[in-house]
Point group: C2
Chain length 240, copies 2
């Protein structure tokens, strides 16, 4: 069982997807929000790359059925109901609704792997649950980091490392099963845990802190807060 | 002055090249070999992506003028004079010759950045020299790792970290000047130095050790053995 990490999503991922369990990670904050939305009782989530598409789908469903969420550059999209703070997605704002979400990086990453057999969403808050669910399938695992504007983002790479760390409890790995990027992410996560790598100084995290989202960042880095594993299939995201 | 690291080369680099000093790294073993060839007295190096192109150029120049070097999958290309072991490039095999080189990843990485203003070649053996030369230009620096078959390779990322580590002596960085990938590479190099990250277990390095190239690996990871900084310009590589 091989584990690989794609440091940021792109068109080049198609040849990695055959017979592979994909875990998409956008820890700050899209995949964390989506986990929260399912925990908050959302009926389903529809991720769209384009914000206009989100509005169009909402128009077809009607306002009572759905809620619009998303951000660009960290800021809520004008006219949308919700931004990209996990706590917005926990309450009755989403209960029994179809949540239509468009974010800068996360929804693009999800769409980029839509031809995979199985796509799960991962974050720190469900790192052990998603690791266990992926290991149970037995296929090779590819963790696709959303990244930040087509650059690797340390927060996603640390989260990938945290998921790989948890997988050791549920799968046996031979020497060479972990790709170099997987080994590096695992080490980076250990460095973050022992305080020798400061995630708060990295680009995307520092930007969110400057924008005033410290509470969000702390929430997103809390480990194993939930067992929810979202799965993306046929254009929608629901609980496994 | 910003520092970024591209974990493996690709077509997406063109938008990074404007007003940028590029350092191409393929530490195991292409850029190490090229530094050795210039130290061995080679007149110039011509990197080609395609092995057939290398042969065609050699045919036009004539056998007395040039020497053919390169590998595929770590093994010398059939009919070529030299493989990809640095020590082959140090002796009189290359003296006053045009060395035409084609390797699996390194020459492709060099070609991918040919539209940049300044392209230097980096490795462990010249890490401080290349850091100093790049810092002296004052432009932003992009370290392009060759990677291994379009995957990130830990050996190149560690070397990028070693070059960034050396740059701190020659340039001042503000908070945020180092991209996430640059910060991660710097940390990975520190982890390799203190023994907490074992580079010999990573994919490309382990493969070379299995193929019997232990002496090469040790040679390639020796730091600051030379002041030679190769520069790629107008299709050829010569000393700065």
């Amino acid at each position: 069982m091989k584990i690989d990490v794609l440091p940021y999503y792109g068109k080049q991922t198609d040849n990695h997807l055959y017979n592979t369990t994909v875990i998409v990670v956008d820890v700050l904050r899209a995949t964390t929000c989506m986990i929260c939305a399912l925990n908050g009782g959302a009926d389903k989530i529809v991720p769209t790359v384009d914000a206009g598409d989100a509005v169009a789908i909402a128009g077809r469903l009607g306002q009572r059925e759905c809620v619009l969420g998303g951000e660009r550059g960290g800021i809520k999209i004008s006219g949308f109901d919700l931004g990209n703070s996990p706590k917005e997605y926990l309450g009755r704002a989403v209960k029994n609704k179809t949540v239509i979400v468009s974010t800068t990086n996360g929804t693009g990453a999800i769409h980029s792997v839509r031809s995979a057999d199985m796509v799960m969403l991962g974050a720190m808050i469900n790192r052990t649950a998603v690791a266990k669910a992926a290991a149970a399938r037995g296929d090779d695992v590819l963790i696709v980091c959303a990244g930040t504007e087509h650059q690797p983002s340390a927060d996603d790479l640390c989260t990938a490392g945290a998921i790989i760390d948890a997988m050791h409890y549920y799968a046996d790995f031979a020497e060479g099963d972990l790709s170099d990027m997987a080994l590096i992410c695992e080490k980076l996560y250990a460095d973050m845990r022992d305080g020798s790598f400061d995630i708060k100084k990295t680009f995307h995290c520092a930007r969110l802190l400057r924008l005033g989202f410290e509470e969000d960042v702390d929430f997103c880095f809390e480990e194993d807060a939930t067992d929810t594993v979202p799965v993306y299939r046929d254009g929608i995201i629901q609980k496994l």
